[in-house]
């Protein structure tokens, strides 16, 4: 407490005690009261004079101006995420695990902060030959692993081979890309690709965490279990990890790149967004990232005491899936009719307050290479109930023979407003007067089983990309060889061919192919894109350096807190 506050407290307490003393139970002696009142007044005046004098003295002898702000040595971060499997780059496939790896490791390429551009990191330079099938990559010569071991071509080749050979969940990202890896010099590797893939596509895959360098001296040829981690090359390393409780990152003294601004980062795991938000508000955390509801973000923005940092969202994108093998959705007219009833603006304005999400008219998100608003072009930006009615009648439905189906959603996995989204969709479809929709929901495990076993016909889902390339937003959904996991059962040989072709092209040629894919997808409508959400971090006002961009990488090494 400041000295003046203590004096005020003392002053008011004295007054209060005096009054209490005087008003204690006794016979009232008015003469004494008048005398005592005079005494009280005199005492009060003396106290005020003394307090004022002391206050003046303290003010005049105030200490020198405070020193310039310091950077906090440790930043405390909260999140509702946690590591789902391991921090082994050959196995991790959940957002948080991957994000940790992105802070403790690096690969040949990385996304420049604030952009969707790839730049060289462990790759000093590269050349592409043989029509795009062979990549000769020259590596940097000054990188070291945390234990001081030198990074060279052998280490890079080992890392890539390890991921492919262990063949865990995300291995296909480079396993389907690379045919052969050769060491052609102390700091040079040669990659022969399975096909002459396009440059940006190949770089995007090589920039994923599965292609990060790991120390060949200490990395076993098996998945490393928690709480162990591998020795990698990155701005931080995991100094402590208590599974399910916290992770502590410490700045890597052997990191050859830009040094992290904060020496230590402690990441605490919270069970739900309410307790996370309470902790930030109470000042127990410096910052919190993932996952807040739109209402929480809005409330914090309005309160104005904490800062809300936002960034473009490409994850998750949200969409509606039809199993096109099941009635009535095996009929394209029905799917198209539903597409005409979707009111994306209403979802975004009502549930995401008009600013925390954007309507999405293609499975390729806004801002991505080749994106077009395919569904807007085909079905319009706003619902067209008349058109929907027309299509439903064509499909054989009427007021006496209504289209009836169950619309499924999962209440917890994505946002807390899933039920409301489903309700808005139901309202739109039933506005035709020719449909009856029943809303159903199930927790994720059950939900996943239901659509895997094809017991449901239409359901809401979300998608987080594996790598930042438009291919990762078309192949897993529309390619008959890639969409098996979704159980959409959509097969279109034309779209398959286009998808296979676009990864081999670059520039305008590729862009045109992607446009065609999106147009066919909108016409067939096996999946209807709905919206894409923004990213939000909530932090104390003194926290700086938070960058939220298309890469979805939360870069702890840029963040710092200035304290006086």
């Amino acid at each position: 407490m400041a000295p003046l506050n203590i004096l005020y407290l003392f002053f008011y307490t004295s007054i209060l005690l005096s009054i209490l003393y005087l008003t204690r139970k006794q016979k009232i002696n008015y003469k004494k009261i008048r005398a005592v009142s005079k005494t009280v007044i005199i005492v009060a005046v003396v106290i005020i004079i003394v307090a004022a004098g002391v206050g003046l003295y303290l003010y005049l002898t105030a200490p020198a101006p405070p020193p310039p702000p310091k950077i906090k040595e440790t930043l405390i971060v909260g999140t509702t995420d946690s590591v789902q499997t391991t921090l082994d780059p050959a196995e991790a496939y959940d957002y948080f695990g991957v994000n940790m790896i992105q802070n403790i490791g690096t690969g040949l390429f990385e996304y420049e902060p604030g952009t969707a551009k790839l730049r060289n990191v462990l790759a000093k330079s590269y050349s592409i030959t043989d029509g795009g099938k062979v990549w000769i990559i020259n590596l940097v010569e000054n990188a070291k692993f945390r234990d001081g071991s030198e990074f060279d071509a052998n280490a890079m080749a080992f890392s890539l081979n390890r991921t492919i050979k262990l063949n865990q969940d995300p291995a296909f990202l480079i396993g389907d890309l690379i045919d052969k890896i050769e060491v052609t010099g102390k700091y040079q590797i040669k990659l022969t690709l399975k096909q002459p893939f396009g440059e940006e596509y190949t770089k995007a895959l090589l920039s994923t965490w599965v292609a990060y360098a790991v120390n060949p001296k200490t990395s076993p040829m098996e998945v490393v279990k928690p709480p162990n981690t591998l020795d990698m090359i990155g701005p931080y390393y995991v100094s402590k990890w208590e599974i399910g409780q916290f992770i502590e990152l410490t700045a890597n003294p052997n990191w050859f790149g830009e040094k992290p601004k904060t020496q230590k980062i402690v990441i605490k795991f919270y069970k739900d967004a309410d307790s996370l938000l309470s902790a930030v508000k109470a000042g127990e955390l410096d910052l919190a990232f993932r996952t807040f509801s739109p209402a929480q973000v809005d409330a914090v923005m309005k309160e104005g005491k904490l800062q809300v940092v936002s960034g473009p969202g490409i994850a998750p994108i949200r969409y509606l899936v039809f199993n096109v093998n099941k009635e009535p959705f095996n009929n394209k007219l029905v799917r198209q009719a539903i597409a005409y009833t979707i009111d994306r603006e209403r979802i975004v304005n009502t549930l995401f307050l008009g600013k925390l999400a954007q309507p999405l008219y293609s499975m390729v998100p806004i801002g991505f290479f080749g994106h077009i608003d395919a569904f807007k072009d085909r079905y319009g930006a706003k619902p067209d109930i008349e058109k929907a009615k027309q299509l439903l009648r064509q499909a054989g439905y009427s007021e006496n023979n209504k289209l009836k189906f169950e619309l499924w959603y999962t209440p917890v996995r994505y946002t807390p407003v899933e039920g409301d989204v489903a309700a808005i969709l139901k309202e739109g479809i039933e506005a035709t007067g020719l449909a009856e929709v029943t809303l159903k929901n199930a927790e994720w495990g059950t939900y996943r089983t239901l659509f895997k076993e094809e017991k449901i016909s239409v359901w809401l889902l979300g998608w987080y990309p594996d790598f930042l390339d438009s291919d990762n937003y078309v192949r897993p959904f529309y390619h008959s060889g890639g969409n098996g996991w979704l159980h959409v059962n959509y097969k279109n040989s034309q779209i398959d061919q286009l998808i296979d072709e676009q990864v081999l092209k670059s520039g305008t040629e590729r862009e045109n192919l992607l446009k065609q894919i999106q147009q066919i997808a909108a016409e067939d409508a096996p999946i209807i894109p709905l919206w894409q959400e923004g990213q939000f971090a909530i932090a104390q006002p003194y926290v700086k350096g938070i960058v939220l961009d298309y890469s979805q990488i939360f870069r702890y090494w840029l963040i710092y807190a200035e304290v006086k």
Binding site: D169, P170, Y270, D274, E284, A442, W444, G445, W485
Partner: protein
């Protein structure tokens, strides 16, 4: 039967109890849609990788084989590993159980102090306004959802007044320090052994609010029960006789009234304590308390069979132990009870 025989018999009976419980849990978990590998299937992971995972976890074996193999492991003391992270189940139980025990003990202390004191005094002032207030208090606190009470107290005492932390068991930096020096994972014991009173203070500071919330919530039961039992006892003839002999009112209330009413209260204490040991999921979630209740909840959602089953085994033994202690306590409260 002597007390010794009674204890041995009770402990032996725990084994079939655990066996039956495990069997029920085993069947229920496998009836639920989905399995641990299902949790990964939101991504486009190749099918052969998912199948391999299922094989590694033994999920593609016939149910009876999975059941037998699990029972054999349990009887060999092997609780297995978690499905996705492959970490031994015992790691999580050792990590989380002490936090649950701490919360349970502290909550019970609050519940008993508030509940028994208010209930006894309310019974003593039977037909007076205080008695009615106490009974209404009991109804109200037991009706309030515990998570609502928790959020309310967090808002008032933590966020607005800044008197207590909003959540967690220790401040993050102290938690990291503690993780490197801990011995038993019971903070009270470790901080005394290690002379780390800063950790002890921080822990008490964090423990106060969640245990107060649970304590208030449970005091509703104890208030009502104590009130009814003590009121009934105070109207008995031996109490009137005690008054006639000039025994003080305080002695009448506590030695004659409360002590004779303690048997059902102690039974309830045992039941509630056992329930707390299974983890107060809502309170643990609201206060981010790293206890076993939330662990079981998370592992059910993740369909992590080994983690759920392992937690149930431990819980079953703890419940058996608590109910045994309660039974033994009866003999000390009421000398008429003998084994």
């Amino acid at each position: 039967m002597s007390l010794k025989s009674y204890i041995i018999t009770r402990l032996l009976l725990t084994i079939p109890m655990v066996f039956i419980l495990l069997s029920i849990v085993f069947v229920v978990l496998r009836v639920l849609p989905g399995d641990p590998v299902t949790m990964l299937e939101g991504k486009d992971i190749p099918e052969e990788v998912l199948q391999r995972r299922r094989e590694e976890l033994g999920l593609n074996k016939p149910i009876h084989e999975q059941y037998l193999s699990y029972l054999i492991n349990i009887f060999q003391g092997n609780l297995g590993e978690t499905a996705l992270t492959k970490v031994p189940v015992t790691y999580f139980i050792i990590q989380r159980l002490p936090a649950t025990v701490e919360l349970a003990i502290m909550s019970m202390i609050f519940a008993v102090i508030i509940g028994i004191f208010l209930g006894s005094y309310g019974a003593y002032k039977f037909h007076r306004p205080l008695s009615y207030i106490v009974r209404i208090y009991g109804m109200i606190v037991y009706s309030i959802p515990v998570f609502f009470l928790g959020l309310l107290l967090i808002y008032i005492l933590s966020i607005s007044l800044g008197m207590f932390p909003t959540s967690l068991r220790l401040s993050p930096l102290l938690e990291i320090e503690y993780s490197t020096i801990k011995i038993t994972n019971f903070i009270l014991i470790d901080s005394i052994i290690l002379n780390r009173y800063d950790i002890l203070y921080d822990w008490l500071h964090h423990l106060f609010l969640p245990s107060l919330v649970l304590g208030i919530y449970l005091s509703g039961i104890f208030v009502r029960l104590t009130h009814a039992q003590v009121a009934e006892t105070l109207f008995k003839d031996f109490v009137t006789a005690a008054r006639a002999r000039g025994i003080t009112e305080r002695r009448i209330l506590y030695k004659y009234g409360l002590r004779n009413a303690l048997i059902p209260i102690v039974t309830m204490m045992g039941l509630q304590f056992a329930a707390l040991l299974s983890g107060a999921v809502l309170t643990e979630t609201v206060f981010n308390w790293p206890g076993i209740g939330s662990l079981v909840y998370e592992s059910i959602l993740a369909r992590d069979y080994n983690l759920v089953q392992g937690s149930i085994v431990i819980y079953a033994f703890l419940v058996a132990l608590v109910s045994l202690i309660v039974d033994i306590t009866y003999a000390y409260i009421d000398p008429r009870i003998r084994y």
